[in-house]
């Protein structure tokens, strides 16, 4: 029963979703939004599971003084500190007239968000620029025919995205060779390749979904293959 009930629920839910795509009439037409609401509610409650797990693992690391326990201590302090500030702002905001939320501009929580969270996120995102450079360096090394073609395509696409290259070639020809070739690569070979991948993905999703609906694939519910 422990396995049969989840499989049955998965099968029914999968079939209802598949049918509702073709039948706009109620009750099928509304099923997607109803299931969507359920997912949101479950996700909201599940956040506690994650937070408690994070605290448990971190406390274990601290108590056992494992190799990276200071990082675990920072996690606990940050999590509890943010929670405390949020609760304090929320509680004190209720007493004000008009009432303010802990997320409103000017609160301590907002300060944490603007001056700690946002810069940290931006720092991580900005590192992408350097990672792109190092990955491109490796990818564009002309070791074989495919890599050489990639290098040529990359050269023209990058050259075509800045006006400098077209300007440099302008004494020879007025035709914007770089931007035209970059557009051509992006519009035809790139789009064709992307679409081929998308078709494959669509078929893969379909095949996976059928395996799940038919109960052949059960790994995601801890049941292995059927």
């Amino acid at each position: 029963m422990r396995r049969q009930i989840p499989i049955l629920i998965t099968t029914i839910a999968g079939l209802v979703f598949a049918i509702s795509y073709f039948i706009p009439h109620d009750p099928f037409g509304e099923s997607e939004s109803i299931f969507g609401d359920w997912i949101t509610i479950v996700q909201a409650f599940a956040v506690w599971l994650g937070a408690l797990n994070l605290l448990k693992i971190s406390f274990e690391k601290i108590s056992s003084k494992s190799a990276d326990w200071p990082y675990a201590a920072i996690i606990v302090v940050s999590l509890m500190g943010t929670l405390a500030v949020g609760f304090y702002d929320g509680y004190s905001g209720m007493a004000q007239d008009p009432q303010i939320s802990f997320r409103d501009p000017g609160t301590n929580f907002d300060w944490l968000y603007r001056f700690i969270y946002t810069p940290l996120s931006a720092t991580m995102f900005s590192m992408l620029a350097f990672f792109v450079a190092s990955a491109s360096y490796r990818a564009f090394r002309a070791r074989n025919v495919q890599a050489t073609l990639l290098l040529i395509a990359g050269f023209f696409v990058m050259g075509g995205r800045v006006p400098l290259f077209d300007m440099m070639i302008s004494p020879i020809t007025d035709f914007p060779v770089f931007s035209w070739f970059a557009d051509w690569i992006m519009t035809y070979p790139n789009t064709a390749g992307q679409r081929a991948i998308m078709i494959g993905i669509a078929l893969g999703i379909m095949s996976s979904s059928l395996r799940i609906i038919l109960g052949i694939e059960r790994s995601h519910i801890g049941g292995g293959s059927g």
Partner: protein, 422 residues
């Protein structure tokens, strides 16, 4: 009209309106209304009657209201032919669509459409009621006091019309046919596999390397990291990732290698833990699984990337799997893994992230291979049968592309219309 307004902009507008009035008079624009039309006064404000009569645009013609097809009810589609004045010269600012439950009114505003539009969907109808509609072209401008003046044309009443829900969306008929073909092929090959027929599946280098990657970690005595992406369990890529995790966990349990799964969603945490528990039990080592192997980090995209980067740099795992849905963090993770010399196998169905994984990882499962990986690793005949059926679907698409290219090249038929689903 006051041409002595201090505001130059308004004066210019006034002159333009005056010129327009003269033009309309010279064209002898029909201003009379027949018995079927209802006079419609200005909605926002009114100018002197003479101005309104001169500036009122010609009405929209051939107004038709019908039930919106292929919907769940509660909507009426109103269409019309453009007003002759709607020629891009600014004589028409838009169209006012009004609705009533009686032919004689009173009419209430259902909505506005921009100039050049020829249809409007009224999404606020009741399937139990009948409605009448009228559409009026209008001209809108600001007067000297900056008040918006709207002058509407005559409007013909059309109806009655009643909205209703449909039992089948005909726009998706071809999708259903394709789906039935592919699903039929998959089930056919699953049944064939059940009967014991051998099914050939091409080799997928990225999946074949899983065994090698787990073995390498075992030899080096280092950890394996498995990153299931940043989407929740309602994403099919995450489901595929958890299915692959089950296979990888079996190998790790057999080799007694530490497999760590940091997750970014609570529901993935629970599911991954169940899959791991099942895998360890299957190889007879349920006691070897520890709670700390599957743990939650954060829901935040870059917080998650930062935490994993830190773990990679500190613990230097021998093998890292990236399987699931990734966004901008894909390269941040993969490049960090590359920098510590880990063997990396990635798989995603996010086309924009594939080039990053290809550049930074040793093996990459491209799109459909991610979904095939679990079946491929299981070597279970029924699962392999589903892959064969999937290939039949691919064959059908290839055939359609070839036929479509030929038909389009000779200008016979644009076959792409059957693939457009609304």
């Amino acid at each position: 009209m006051r041409l002595s307004s201090p505001n130059l902009t308004h004066n210019c507008l006034r002159i333009a309106l005056f010129t327009l009035s003269l033009l309309l008079i010279s064209l002898n624009a029909p201003l009379a209304q027949d018995a079927e039309t209802a006079p419609d006064t200005a909605v926002v404000n009114t100018e002197p009657a003479a101005d309104a009569a001169i500036l009122a645009p010609l009405p929209a013609a051939n107004v038709i209201a019908k039930d919106l097809p292929n919907d769940k009810g509660g909507a009426v589609l109103v269409s019309w032919e453009l007003s002759p004045d709607d020629d891009g010269n600014g004589k028409v600012s838009g169209y006012l669509v009004q609705r009533s439950e009686s032919k004689d009114g009173p009419f209430e505003t259902a909505g506005n459409a921009v100039r050049g539009a020829t249809k409007f969907t009224d999404n606020k109808t009741d399937d139990d009621k009948v409605y009448f509609y009228k559409v009026a072209a209008y001209f809108e401008y600001l007067d000297a006091a900056d008040e918006k003046i709207r002058i509407t044309s005559a409007a013909t009443v059309t109806g009655p019309v009643q909205s209703s829900a449909q039992w089948f969306n005909m726009n998706r008929l071809y999708v259903l046919l394709f789906m039935l073909f592919v699903a039929g092929a998959i089930i056919f090959y699953i049944e064939k596999a059940k009967k014991g027929e051998e099914i050939y599946i091409r080799k997928i280098a990225g999946i074949d390397a899983v065994d090698e990657a787990v073995g390498r970690a075992t030899e080096m005595g280092k950890k394996i990291f498995y990153i299931p992406g940043i989407q929740d369990m309602n994403d099919v890529q995450t489901i595929a990732s958890i299915a692959i995790l089950g296979r990888v966990a079996q190998m790790a349990a057999e080799y007694d290698t530490w497999l760590e799964v940091p997750v970014s969603k609570s529901m993935v945490l629970v599911t991954a833990r169940e899959a791991m528990k099942e895998a360890y039990t299957k190889v007879g080592r349920p006691d070897a699984l520890q709670d700390a192997q599957v743990h939650y980090l954060t829901d935040d995209q870059f917080g998650y990337a930062a935490a994993i980067d830190g773990m990679i740099v500190r613990e230097k795992p021998a093998t890292i799997f990236y399987m699931g849905a990734f966004f901008a963090e894909s390269l941040i993770l993969a490049e960090t893994g590359n920098s510590v010399g880990a063997i990396q196998i990635a798989g995603t169905a996010m086309p924009a992230q594939l080039p990053f994984f290809v550049a930074a990882c040793d093996y990459t499962l491209i799109g459909e291979e991610l979904f095939a990986a679990s079946a491929y690793l299981s070597r279970e005949p029924r699962q392999l049968g589903s892959l064969k059926g999937q290939d039949m679907g691919k064959g059908l698409f290839i055939l359609c592309i070839i036929v479509g290219v030929i038909l389009a090249t000779f200008d016979i038929w644009d076959m792409s219309v059957i693939f457009v689903s609304r």
